[in-house]
């Protein structure tokens, strides 16, 4: 968002953009905020802040571009800048460090049993949700944006301010980690996992 605000939209236009293009995403925004903060009040504050900023900087929004991606980017930045600092959650590992760590190939082949698609389909929503929530925030965010919200890699790159190549690798790591979590649930709940056959 640029500091210099050109006068671009009239009062009526601003109202119509805000009501017509921003407000319809409030559900997705709140769910995203909740999955970042795990707290109803914090999620509420985060969404309010985001809408306030969206209104203040509305002139830097180009009509006809993806309003949802624009809003998600503001929310993500607010979370990092204003919110992450004041939470009691343990300090998260630095992005780069995490990516380098998981960039070893052995994460693909940690175990000899594999998770079956049918076992995944039999799982409860809460189990899926817990597995997702247990991922580090950066990996969790990647899955939320891609799979829950359906953003493209290009949109994700803009929302997260990272190159597309990083989106691709982060998402792949995130999916591997999620799969491992689900496999853990499947095993502990006695769902069918299959010994690898040779």
């Amino acid at each position: 968002m640029s500091e210099v605000q050109r006068r671009k939209y009239s009062q009526e236009e601003r109202t119509s953009i805000f009501d017509g293009e921003f407000m319809p995403h409030i559900d997705s925004m709140y769910n995203f905020a909740f999955r970042l903060t795990f707290d109803e009040d914090d999620a509420k504050d985060l969404v309010q802040d985001t809408y306030m900023k969206a209104f203040r900087f509305i002139n830097s929004f180009e009509q006809g571009t993806n309003a949802k991606a624009w809003l998600f980017r503001i929310l993500k930045n607010s979370f990092i800048n204003d919110y992450r600092k004041k939470t009691k959650q343990p300090a998260t590992v630095d992005y780069q460090e995490v990516e380098t760590f998981y960039n070893s190939d052995d994460v693909d082949y940690q175990s000899t049993t594999d998770l079956r698609a049918e076992s995944v389909r039999d799982m409860l929503g809460d189990e899926i949700s817990n597995a997702l929530n247990s991922l580090d925030v950066d990996f969790r965010t990647a899955i939320i944006l891609a799979d829950l919200e359906g953003f493209t890699y290009e949109e994700m790159a803009k929302i997260l301010d990272i190159p597309i190549g990083t989106v691709r690798s982060r998402l792949h790591r995130a999916r591997n980690l999620l799969k491992e979590k689900l496999k853990g649930y499947a095993q502990s709940m006695g769902y069918n996992t299959e010994e690898e056959e040779e």
Partner: protein, 78 residues
């Protein structure tokens, strides 16, 4: 038969499932599904995971007052 480096395939297949490779991706996917068992299984597992994420993940209900309070805030800011 199976691909020589399935971990490379997996990343590619995920990109295809994400729709990032367009028509070209569809052809690659078809070929891998026909020829390679690990790829076949990976695709089915990934599709199942996406499906349950989309359909089963519980949605957090929007707090009743949130929309109202945002509108008030904007009104005051005008």
């Amino acid at each position: 038969m199976q691909c020589s480096d399935v971990s490379k395939c997996y990343e590619l297949l995920e990109r295809i499932l994400d729709g990032e490779l367009g028509d070209e991706g569809r052809d690659i996917l078809k070929e891998k599904l026909e020829k390679c068992q690990p790829c076949f299984e990976h695709v089915h597992l990934q599709q199942a995971i996406r499906e349950v994420l989309k359909t089963k993940c519980p949605k957090q209900p929007l707090p009743e007052t949130l929309e109202e309070s945002i509108r008030k805030m904007i009104q005051n800011a005008r």
